[in-house]
């Protein structure tokens, strides 16, 4: 994937070292989609989703999975062909299989982001979310960006012909399950049963206060790190069943407010510098 997308002019980026629910939250996507400058980036992102934990007992539903994320701004007109080319590049013979683009409009209320696109199904297994972002951080995007989010475990399952992520060979002699199974189990116990609700709420408040203070000082990137903390802590509270429907809305609105502040601050920065400050 790195080779393929590098040849398409992408910056090959690294996972961002703050916990997050999806590759979209990486600053290379959040900030990269904002502003007028062209931007192409690709990276792997370990993505934590506490509510998706299954104690390591489900073959493909994981609390932490790995995404391969590509952003192309603006999207080239042949983007679908480019995407399909990447599948062929990693060894999927498309004419022997069944590939469908099935309507799925993506939305992240916490990031104030939404887009239009598809889930891509390979022999009716979902392997990619394909989205034309229309808004990010509450800002209309011009130009728009296309986001490709590949589910790496799913694609590896397909390529290796196994039935469960835990059976994947990570190397010749190390299985995925040997590295991840116990972590899945422990984090599922933690997220669903053990996380201390009061402490997590306090951590949320602290991270939120810190993010706001950074925004006031015009420090958008540190503010964004703390926004990511908030988002993850909210996900933990949600998995823990500690958030009522009414509270949910207000938590989401609080995070979205921070994200919007980061987006605004970043756009202001771009305007002031009159030089590229990428992602």
């Amino acid at each position: 994937m790195h080779e393929y997308w590098r040849d398409q002019g992408c910056v090959i980026f690294e996972p961002y070292d703050v916990e997050k629910g999806a590759g979209t939250f990486n600053p290379a996507t959040f900030f990269g989609c904002l502003g007028p400058d062209p931007w192409r980036v690709a990276y792997i992102e370990p993505s934590r989703r506490p509510t998706d934990g299954r104690y390591g007992e489900n073959p493909i539903r994981l609390r932490l999975h790995h995404q391969y994320q590509v952003i192309l701004k603006p999207p080239p007109p042949d983007i679908q062909d480019l995407y399909l080319g990447s599948l062929e590049y990693v060894g999927i013979e498309l004419r022997d299989h069944d590939v469908k683009f099935s309507e799925d409009d993506w939305e992240s209320p916490t990031l104030g982001a939404w887009g239009v696109g598809w889930q891509v199904w390979l022999d009716e297994m979902e392997i990619t979310q394909f989205t034309y972002f229309q808004q990010m951080g509450g800002m209309d995007l011009d130009p728009v960006s296309v986001e490709l989010t590949y589910g790496l475990e799913r694609i590896a399952i397909f390529l290796q012909g196994v039935e469960s992520a835990f059976e994947l060979n990570w190397s010749a002699d190390v299985k995925y399950g040997e590295i991840w199974h116990e972590k899945e189990r422990q984090f599922s116990i933690y997220n669903f049963e053990r996380a201390d609700v009061e402490r997590i709420r306090k951590m949320f408040e602290l991270a939120e206060a810190e993010a706001k203070a950074c925004l006031e000082a015009g420090l958008v990137f540190p503010a964004y790190d703390h926004t990511l903390h908030c988002s993850h802590l909210f996900n933990v509270l949600d998995a823990r069943g500690a958030i009522s429907v009414a509270e949910r809305e207000s938590y989401i609105a609080r995070i979205r407010e921070l994200a919007r502040g980061c987006a605004k601050g970043y756009l202001k920065l771009l305007e002031e510098r009159r030089a590229r400050v990428l992602a």
Binding site: H97, E103, W121, D123, E124, F158
Partner: protein, 686 residues
């Protein structure tokens, strides 16, 4: 005669939107051609997930000439006394290149004017089409729009190519960053990327060679034939839903069947669970053998048969993994009796102001109790209904329902049966969400029907009492759909129930409601939905719906039956006269309260005649209403028309003498009320 082809090439359109857009494209083009005076003999609409196309046959070469009458100066200004054109008229003639003998005279209003008949020659079809296509594309109704480049163009999905051919000629249409050409595209994997069209006529066949079936009807036949083949070969029956068929037709350019099997060890899962796994995302067609699930399913690969069997293997792996998940959920769910789960509903917020799902269940039970009385169910049925109401939401806490929300209710029934609840209870739980929409299937059992009614009524009442009244397309709580389903249930099941008294009785169950909200808002909203439903679903004409709903009643079935009685009358002169008389009756009694009157005070024969007829009619009307014979009631009212007519001709109601006047008004008011038992006839347009 020329042929014209317009093809809009897109990235994959949502399966159920493509047909809507294709029809809109055809309708709008037909409308614009008509406005532009371009005749045509036929139109074909084609579409796939990647294209919307319209093929116009027998198109006129050019527009019909436009002939317009243009008004010039008034005759008094335009002609001198000798009848020769003045400077004003000459200017008018110059403007249109006409000569004095072309002038015509015509009276408009009070004055006579000079007129010219101006003929604008029609433009060639080519020129007109180039002008109208961009607006046509812009006007297509998208559920949601997106942008994909900086051209400012928006659509449901990116538009990537345009074909615009008038016979062999490419029309130079530009839209966004695209320029129309004669190049379409074949199947994404099994056709040429670029496909040159020489003429509109070869569109369908050239695409077929490129592995694309442009005609959705043909794709539907291919899909259904494949399913029939499986039915014949395996002695099974396909379990279709309209949505599944729609998604398959809408997501494939060349449906190629792939038959898969799953291990029969999964057949002990409940049939609805297996169907839900296969229906998921509109992917696979499930089959049944003798009413039981069969271990085969049919998927469709796009483009070409699965020669190497890889696709079948992939499908089977996905289905097996999902069935294994389902088995895991099922076994976990069976570890705890359904009744024990009810308490967990306290943890699930239904709505912040309306409490938890547990609170909702308590309200449903109370509403059920009221309905048991008004529907005349016996004590045993009442007990069973209460049990079903108590359990009906418990499946929300099960893993299966969390994974497959569409199995809500159905799983509750299955789990209830498993844990030994009475069969009636299980069935009522299973059916209590039906109908989900106004066209959906209905509950069969009495208890299921009553439970469904109570659940939906609570949903609607709760939302409206906290002020969540749907506006325009905004309906976050799905209240309009719930209300439609509720009313549809009453009307289609023929339930005689006074919804208003149930609403009044249930009002105390909502202690959190803000000031100023009352049962009136709920009743008003439901009556408004009733108005739509009897018009749209039961074919009641607009004015009759208005007439019977002029006096809102909680007996919704009665409104429909009254409307049907009125509709069966036929719109003749007699009804027209009655409507007129009724209007007089209503106007003259406006503001007058219903009070008693004294027949002794009647002075004229016409009054006494009307009084006698009124007495006859009243008895018959009351009797008919008691028997819910609304046609009979209406028939009893009709003979009042003649006497009323004579009354209004001869009797002066508003006399000086207050006693006489008030007495007459009271009598007429009573007469009015009797008519209003059917409806406000004055709104009838006859």
């Amino acid at each position: 005669m020329p042929e014209f082809l317009l093809e809009v090439g897109t990235e994959e359109l949502p399966a159920l939107d493509a047909p809507v857009l294709a029809r809109a494209l055809g309708d709008k083009l037909a409308q614009v051609l008509k406005e532009e005076r371009l005749g045509f003999s036929g139109m074909e609409i084609h579409w796939t997930p990647r294209r919307l196309a319209v093929l116009v046959r027998g198109l006129a070469e050019r527009q019909a000439d436009l002939v317009e009458e243009v008004r010039g100066p008034a005759v008094a200004v335009g002609l001198d006394p000798q009848g020769n054109p003045t400077q004003a008229a000459l200017g008018f003639l110059r403007k249109y290149g006409a000569s004095p003998q072309d002038l015509k005279r015509k009276v408009v209003g009070e004055k006579e004017y000079l007129f010219l008949e101006v003929r604008t020659p029609g433009k060639p079809a080519r020129e007109v089409l180039v002008g109208i296509i961009p607006d046509l594309l812009r006007s297509l109704p998208c559920r949601k729009t997106m942008r994909w480049d900086s051209s400012g163009v928006a659509f449901l999905r990116p538009i990537r190519w345009l074909v615009c051919l008038l016979d062999g000629e490419v029309l130079s249409v530009r839209y966004g960053n695209l320029t129309a050409d004669r190049v379409t595209r074949g199947h994404r994997f099994f056709g040429p990327r670029e496909l040159v069209l020489n003429s509109p006529a070869e569109y369908v066949e050239k695409l077929r060679e490129a592995r694309v079936i442009a005609d959705p009807g043909e794709r539907e036949r291919m899909i259904q034939d494949a399913a029939k083949g499986v039915e014949g070969e395996h002695g099974v029956r396909a379990l279709w839903t309209e949505e599944l068929l729609g998604i398959l037709v809408g997501s494939l350019e060349w449906p190629s069947p792939v038959l898969g099997k799953f291990p029969s060890e999964f057949l002990d899962l409940p049939a609805p669970v297996i169907a839900a796994v296969l229906h998921e995302e509109g992917k696979f067609v499930p089959f049944a053998r003798n009413g039981e699930p069969a271990p085969v399913f049919l998927g469709f690969r796009d483009g070409k048969e699965d020669e190497k069997g890889y696709v079948r293997k992939g499908y089977e792996r996905v289905v097996k993994a999902r069935l294994r998940d389902a088995r895991f959920f099922f076994e976990n769910d069976l570890k705890r009796p359904l009744a024990e789960r009810v308490l967990d509903l306290r943890e699930i917020v239904y709505e912040a102001r309306l409490g938890s799902v547990w609170d909702k269940v308590q309200r449903i039970r109370e509403i059920c109790k009221h309905l048991v009385d008004s529907l005349g169910l016996d004590g045993e049925q009442g007990t069973l209904l209460d049990r079903a109401a108590f359990l009906c939401k418990a499946d929300l806490t099960t893993e299966m329902v969390r994974e497959f929300p569409e199995l809500q209710g159905v799983m509750g029934g299955i789990y209830a049966r498993h844990f030994g609840e009475p069969e009636e209870v299980a069935v009522a739980i299973e059916e209590h969400l039906l109908p989900r929409t106004r066209a959906d299937e209905l509950p069969e059992s009495t208890l299921g029907t009553v439970l469904s009614l109570a659940d939906k009524l609570d949903t609607v009442m709760g939302a409206i009492l906290i002020g969540e009244v749907p506006t325009g397309s905004r309906d976050p709580y799905g209240i309009r759909r719930a209300a439609n389903a509720l009313i549809s249930l009453i009307l289609r099941k023929g339930l005689v129930v006074d919804l208003f008294s149930t609403i009044d009785a249930a009002l105390e169950l909502y202690p959190q409601i803000p000031e100023g909200r009352d049962a009136g808002a709920v009743k008003g909203f439901l009556v408004e939905r009733l108005r739509h439903i009897i018009r749209d679903d039961f074919g009641i004409p607009h004015d009759i719906a208005e007439a019977v709903l002029a006096v809102p009643r909680g007996d919704f079935l009665g409104a429909l039956e009254r409307a049907r009685a009125l509709a069966s009358l036929g719109r003749d002169a007699a009804l027209a006269e009655l409507a007129q008389i009724f209007e007089r009756l209503r106007n003259i009694t406006k503001g007058h309260e219903l009070t008693s009157f004294d027949p002794e005070l009647f002075q004229q024969e016409e009054e006494r005649e009307l009084w006698r007829e009124y007495l006859k009619a009243e008895g018959r009307v009351r009797q008919a209403l008691a028997n819910r014979d609304f046609a009979g009631a209406l028939e009893a009212l009709l003979p009042l028309g003649g006497p009323l007519h004579r009354y209004f001709e001869k009797v002066f109601v508003m006399v000086e003498d207050e006693r006489i006047r008030e007495n007459r008004l009271s009598f007429l008011r009573a007469l009015l009320s009797l008519f209003l038992e059917i409806g406000d006839l004055s709104v009838l347009s006859v």
